[in-house]
Symmetry: C2
Subunit: 552 residues, 2 copies
């Protein structure tokens, strides 16, 4: 194995714990807080979680450890997409577990929740875990997207736990995985298995956030990585002075990633999906908004710029989402056969024209051909349009070009418009965690074990006050049910953790809104540069602008 | 202006000079080396450069400064594509100039060589230059691609120099720009203008390299930035275990960037254009070579991997380059009208089938439709195929997929193949320069002024022994004519600096060749992480693996 110099150096990094966890295991005690209620639909949720609902919020503090001496065998699972810091959750968990009792065992289930069902696992020891400290990726045990949600799966899980003598399971995942963790916790409690379940909040998308979770881990590192690249491209744009860069960034439905990157880099344009939805903007309106910036800059001789496009934006454009729905209907099941039998794109186009409503056809007609073809030719196994594959960065630059061509004809625009396109996502999910994420994740894992040791079940490992230095962070736990409400999914009422979208009344968006008109016309680029792990604290240890503004 | 914490911190960085330049201006003297000859075509080149040919190589050393006291007015130009460190060349130049005589003046010509012709300039002062120290980009004065090569341009340049009292011009550019610098130097000497010309070797492509220039500046930072991203994607691939990532990297014709990234990250596959050409590989052979790795890994349950594709590779595939040539012929001038008049792609395809030779048509036929359409629909103003726009990362993944489908039918392959695509280029050209590039560039600029002060003309600023700590670097100058040979360009014999391609007998390629079979089958990924400016020296100060291997 050929390790990079940085990887070797990062092994030596000692993550910072919240002050209250720094005195050693024997000096951590619990302070019970008040009873909790779910954020909405209290009666329904209490009914669904009779054994785990309404428990107390807790925090840890310095004081004699009063937990029961008991051998712990803990299983840990990484669920869903990668996020920087996952390895540190595991190593924090491992260190607290071993410091409590060297006989304790940490089992890693491989390749996501399916590892628990398939009983595919490894047992951690020092040598193994030391290879993963402060590194990115989920390769320590792998991850997967299997959902743990059926009674049958729970029964198998209980069997596997019994076989290994497992006393607790830690699930590291996003909103869905933590919802499932709560359901599993309830099942284990209802069936007197004696197995506890603790969740940890993970996702680079930043959409697992509420009054208890200040941010999910990985968001800091991922957005810093994308901001590094966007800043570099901004500097390139400002040097070459001839390209407009359209940059799509990951983040699923929510625009937290795009917004944070915009706060870090001050681009000319950043679309916010939640605003597009709230204002019911059409594709043409969005293109016109971007073209305004292009034209204003061109008038000052600046035929260059940078626009950030959140991954999920097209789904938030009402007319586009209707179009997608109609296409899915048009090609549902065997109806696709007639379409597929048509030999040329011209024939297919005629078929489409006949099948869509007039409104949707008018939207379809303005799309560039490559996007039209993507919509019809690249469908998922169920025949549905794969919205996440739509190259929206190219879609918007094509619409902007059409808009500018019209302005040129009308004599209101005289510039040059040369667009380039980028998509950043996979570049940031497995970066070496920033010092913030390394510390936060290690603390989440360490703290998760303390929750186990004190007997809590159905709790989320909670570390807060994160905009302050780690010394001042607050460690504790929150019943997952507290974050839940009831949502209609696939025709059923389901208890779920509410997904956090960008709040248009929140301070991060308000700050952006107050500055974006200036950024659109001027060149106010900020160049964050690469994540630094060493050096001045203001360079290495600050977390996101989003959190700083939220906590202002 | 909203500066990032890193930008503020980098202002404080003090670049390291070669030991012999560290004692202050008054203690730098010249050691003349031997007379030089051009690397080939000596007679022809001497004839073209009667006033500047055959001069001595020189190095600087510690000793009493014997240069003439004379007010210097120096003009500086950034030429061509951005490379990290350009700002430090300018600040090194400025510092040496001002340290020699505070009355000296540094003039920056704006937006590339055209700034000299248009007399578009600014005059540097401390306040201005301090905003750009140790930062990326060429935004300090902008860059441009105008070539300074005609007598008319030279005459105007001489006028502009006279107007400002300019004593020397420093041109920061790649092989073409430095060739032009030599021609301009000869012109100035022949016409007794008294203006000197000094070149500095810039390009992220790494193809300006020879026995005198160990590496061009920017190559270190750009390849470290791409390697960061490739490493992050490798870690993602190894965590998710379900995608093959096809990553195209910039670098023009040469594969130095791809090779350096491969040495840093140990991917499963890295194509080297120079090898493709030497072995006269076909598209089908290349696809088969990649598919071998995919299949070997799939047989071990690893349906994931990373392949690096150098930007220029398709031009090195003999059959593809013939195809491009035929397409350019087929659509030359008015012949394109008939093609453009055809309404459907099917009709166009028939036209193409009729127009290409059988051999080229068989190559064309295996291309994915999107690439076929790119070749015919996206042509430059002269009607030529835009080779640099060909999405070769998608081309190869499509060919590999076809190859694997055939293997599947034959029962020799049972894996899954889900490709994802990336192109890295603009992300690295304007990154904050690594410590190496910050030091190297500052030294090049500082050194360039010493060459001016000692009266040299038509020299390249040369800093060598770069694989050693900066203290041991050797500063001096080399007549640009020494690096020249005669090449046939556009039907004319031209004196040019020889472009360096990857040498298949060189140590970097040999190292790669010795390891790639293992890398293709195993997961031997190395994760370099982000460029670090602070921290342990082995993390912050090492330059490229390429240079380390070359100097082994």
């Amino acid at each position: 194995m050929n390790l990079s110099p940085l990887q070797k150096a990062r092994y030596q990094y000692v993550p910072k714990l919240p002050g209250m966890l720094r005195n050693g295991i024997s000096d951590i005690c619990v302070k019970e807080g008040s009873k909790t209620q779910s954020v909405a639909d209290q009666e329904k949720i209490e009914k669904l979680f009779p054994n785990t609902y309404g428990k107390n919020e807790i925090t840890f503090q310095k004081g004699k450890n009063t937990s029961q001496a008991k051998k712990q065998v803990v299983g840990v699972i990484l669920s869903g997409g990668q996020a920087p810091g996952g390895h540190n959750v595991v190593s924090g968990l491992y260190d607290a577990l071993k410091a409590t009792n060297s006989e304790n065992v940490l089992i890693g289930f491989k390749n996501g929740p399916s590892g628990l069902i398939d009983d595919d696992y490894l047992i951690f020891d020092d040598e193994y875990i030391n290879q993963y400290r402060n590194t990115g990726g989920f390769d320590i045990i792998g991850s997967g997207r299997t959902k743990l949600e059926t009674k049958e799966q729970f029964a198998i899980a209980a069997e596997v736990c019994k076989k290994h003598g497992i006393t607790a399971i830690v699930i590291i995942g996003g909103d869905d995985s933590n919802t499932n963790a709560a359901v599993l916790a309830e099942y284990f409690a209802a069936n007197n298995t004696g197995v506890q379940v603790i969740g940890c909040p993970k996702t680079i998308d930043g959409d697992l956030k509420n009054e208890d979770i200040e941010c999910s881990f990985g968001f800091d590192t991922a957005t810093k990585t994308y901001s590094e690249l966007i800043g570099n491209i901004e500097r390139d744009a400002n040097s070459a002075k001839k390209y407009w860069h359209f940059i799509k960034v990951m983040g699923r439905s929510a625009s937290h990633v795009a917004l944070e990157c915009a706060l870090e880099t001050q681009p000319n344009i950043c679309l916010i999906s939640e605003e597009v939805a709230a204002k019911k903007m059409s594709l043409v309106q969005i293109a016109d908004y971007i073209a305004d910036s292009v034209a204003a800059r061109a008038a000052k001789g600046m035929n260059f710029g940078v626009a950030i496009i959140p991954e999920g934006v097209v789904e938030f454009v009402p007319e586009f989402s209707v179009l997608i729905h109609e296409i899915n209907e048009l090609l549902a099941g065997s109806k696709a056969d007639a379409f597929n039998a048509l030999a040329t794109w011209e024939d297919k186009y005629a078929f489409i024209e006949k099948g869509l409503t007039k409104e949707s056809m008018s939207v379809f007609a303005i799309l560039p051909t490559t996007i039209q073809q993507q919509l019809f030719l690249e469908r998922d196994p169920h025949g549905n349009v794969q919205v996440s594959l739509i190259e929206s960065e190219k879609l918007f630059s094509a619409l902007v070009k059409a808009n500018l061509d019209a302005r040129k004809k009308a004599g209101t625009y005289k510039g040059k418009f040369s667009p380039l396109h980028h998509f950043f996502g996979y570049e940031g999910r497995c970066a070496f965690p920033s010092n913030f994420d390394a510390d936060y994740c290690y603390s989440l894992g360490y703290n998760a074990f303390m929750l186990i040791q004190y007997g809590y079940n159905g709790y989320l490992s909670k570390v807060s006050n994160l905009s302050k230095p780690a010394e001042e962070w607050v460690a504790g736990g929150m019943p997952i049910t507290k974050m839940m409400n009831i949502e209609r999914r696939h025709g059923e009422d389901k208890p779920v953790i509410k997904k956090a979208l960008v709040e248009l009344e929140g301070k991060p968006f308000k700050y952006f809104e107050a500055h974006r008109d200036e950024w659109a016309k001027e060149t106010a680029f900020t160049y964050p540069g690469a994540i630094q792990y060493y050096g001045p604290t203001e360079v290495c240890d600050l977390t996101t602008r989003t959190l700083a503004l939220e906590k202002e």
